[in-house]
């Protein structure tokens, strides 16, 4: 009897092994088809845009899904352990390249692929140095490179100053667990004084706390500005409603937020960021460059987005010069 149980358990373990093992062995080794594993950390507008841009970038370099590209897409649903499992799977599938979107996925992918030949290309990592994905001078620490989505903080502060010449205090809501946000807060602290602002921040740990934190912050500030903070941005409408009631302008950090009713943003275009990343990946796949020799890249400059309707509601006169410079001016508020 005892033996039987042993056999059963052993059988169970072996079958899971078989299930998981078979996919790797089925892989055909066609030279012309590239196999890329995309590990995305969470379902999120900006990250989705990164992914789309990445595929577009590859396409522009002649690597296209359905033709010579096989994509394996997985999403960690914001769980670090799952992110590790996903990149482990890509490594055991022996993909040609792993594309990791957002810091935790990038770190997991780098860790999984450390002792292999598989290159990792990341995007939407705000600070690759702090994440130990790059050394000083942007040089890679291994077979890993990519693009950073560092916010154009100075440009944003300058734009806010132009729009609100009398504002004294800027408020920022952020999640204490998001590496990108913590880093951006440091950047704001560094530059706020130069533009004559004092900074007020409020940290939250999840979406349910945002509303209260916003109410507290709005008591103290002349305007709010957003980061690319996933938690805060996901409940942006609540913040906007509260701020609008008090007539306090809210600035965004990317196009989607301005569409939703933020006054303006000097932001990144995540599709473009993804495209840059896709082009880097194409170079690596074609053998034109090596990941371990490519420094990570930043998107040059920023694009200004303005929402006229929001300005009208807040009775703010938009400077002509800003309007002319804007990449896109929205006249409606979505949603």
């Amino acid at each position: 009897m005892k033996k039987k149980v042993f056999v059963m358990i052993l059988g169970a373990i072996l079958t899971t092994g078989l299930f998981t093992g078979c996919k790797g062995e089925n892989k055909e080794s066609k030279e012309s088809v590239y196999h890329i594993g995309i590990s995305q950390f969470a379902e999120h507008g900006s990250l989705d845009n990164c992914r789309e841009g990445f595929l577009e970038g590859l396409k522009e370099e002649g690597i296209e899904e359905g033709k010579n590209l096989e994509i394996d897409l997985d999403n960690a649903n914001s769980d670090t352990a799952t992110a590790a499992q996903i990149s482990d799977k890509f490594v055991s599938d022996k993909v040609d390249l792993i594309c990791a979107i957002a810091t935790p996925s990038a770190q997991a992918a780098y860790n999984s692929a450390a002792n292999t030949e598989i290159p990792v290309v990341y995007t939407a990592v705000t600070n690759p140095e702090e994440a130990e994905l790059a050394g000083e001078d942007k040089t890679p620490v291994g077979r890993v490179t990519g693009t950073s989505d560092q916010l154009p903080v100075e440009a944003q502060l300058k734009m806010i100053r132009e729009m609100l010449p009398d504002a004294k205090t800027i408020g920022i809501l952020y999640t204490t667990s998001e590496a990108n946000s913590v880093h951006s807060i440091k950047e704001y602290e560094k530059y706020a004084k130069e533009y004559g602002f004092t900074l007020e921040t409020a940290g939250v740990t999840n979406t349910s706390e945002v509303s209260l934190a916003a109410a507290g912050l709005l008591e103290k500030v002349d305007c709010l500005t957003n980061l690319t903070d996933n938690t805060v941005v996901s409940v942006l409408p609540t913040i906007l409603e509260q701020a609008n009631k008090k007539g306090i302008p809210v600035f965004g950090s990317e196009i989607e937020q301005v569409k939703l009713g933020c006054l303006a943003a000097e932001g990144l275009d995540y599709i473009n960021l993804g495209k840059e990343t896709g082009k880097m990946a194409a170079k690596i796949l074609k053998g034109e460059a090596k990941a371990e020799e490519m420094p990570y890249e930043l998107l040059e400059g920023s694009s200004l987005y303005i929402n006229e309707k929001a300005a009208e509601n807040l009775k703010i006169e938009l400077p002509e010069e800003l309007k002319n410079r804007a990449e896109e001016v929205f006249t409606e508020i979505e949603g």
């Binding site: 149980v5 899971t16 998981t20």
Partner: protein, 299 residues
């Protein structure tokens, strides 16, 4: 096959966490939510120690002690301040979030360039060539075996029997002239010590401390314990394997389930697969249980 190894590695690491949850949930009958905080606490302590260049093997006992301290606090809040069990766990879990941020210094600490229990000079001397692929698994297995047998051994001591008695029949403990509160506190300490140990190993395996790594840890732990103990119940009569081993098996199965979801299902389906898996196991056990009972009544 590499992916299967990675599943077993993660399963064993989370199995140590499940062992802790087993103590609180099954033995003490205490729904302890401290776990969501003590798991990353173990990782935070580890990250802080490794950053300061301490011998990586020292992180294991220190993380255990840190977790035990957290469990001690939960116990004190529950027993001394008379706060309800669920609430005292929630209080500690919430407080630990701040503690973890302070201990680690920031929310994300990469450990790629540091020596860890999986990657140091001593190890690269032992493991080389072909078996280096299995070195992580062997190290994890060693820690797992030590913690499992230590716990098995402890549960057989007098103090261990008292621990089990508290969950089953509090009055018995009182009638033995023992303070049941103290026993509970001890149990919570050991449990959270194990959870933190699991966090310590996990962050070294993944090469990074991440504050959000604890979110949902209790879910993984509970699921593993329920699957493990249910299997144990089902096979009790025909097996000599201890329930603690089944807890590890439960954790591995749970991780295998996420693995299968990653392999064969669209990304959005992952949580549903995990939920269905858990439900499936519970129904299976219900069916087997009923059959057994029917068999008995016929006999």
């Amino acid at each position: 096959m590499d992916f299967a190894i990675s599943i077993i590695e993660q399963g064993l690491i989370y199995g140590i966490l499940a062992l802790g949850v087993y103590i609180t949930y099954k033995i003490l009958d205490f729904p302890d939510l401290t776990v969501d905080g003590s798991f990353p606490l173990g990782a935070a302590v580890t990250a802080a120690l490794l950053k300061s260049g301490v011998n990586p093997y020292l992180t294991l006992p220190v993380a255990f002690l840190a977790g035990a301290a957290a469990g001690l606090c939960t116990g004190l809040i529950h027993v001394k301040c008379k706060v309800r069990d669920l609430l005292s766990g929630i209080i500690m879990m919430t407080a630990l979030y701040t503690v973890n941020l302070m201990v680690a210094g920031t929310n994300n600490v990469p450990l790629f360039s540091k020596e860890t229990i999986f990657k140091n000079e001593f190890l690269s001397g032992i493991f080389s060539g072909g078996i280096s692929k299995y070195s992580n698994l062997m190290i994890i297995l060693l820690i797992v075996l030590i913690s499992k047998f230590a716990l098995d051994g402890y549960l057989k001591t007098k103090s261990g029997y008292l621990l089990r008695a508290v969950g089953d029949n509090e009055n018995l403990v009182t009638s033995l002239a023992k303070n049941k509160g103290n026993v509970k506190i001890l149990g919570l300490s050991i449990a959270n010590g194990l959870v933190a140990l699991s966090g310590c190993i996990s962050c070294q395996q993944q090469g990074v401390f991440e504050i959000s790594s604890g979110t949902g840890a209790i879910v993984v732990g509970l699921a593993s314990v329920i699957v493990g103990t249910s299997l144990y119940k089902m096979l009790k009569k025909i097996s000599f394997i201890k329930v603690t081993t089944f807890v590890f098996l439960g954790a591995i199965l749970y991780k295998a389930c996420t693995g299968i979801a990653i392999l064969y299902f669209p990304p959005q389906a992952m949580k549903m697969i995990s939920a269905l898996f858990l439900l499936g196991v519970l129904i299976l056990i219900l069916v087997v249980d009923k059959k057994e009972k029917r068999g008995k009544s016929h006999a």
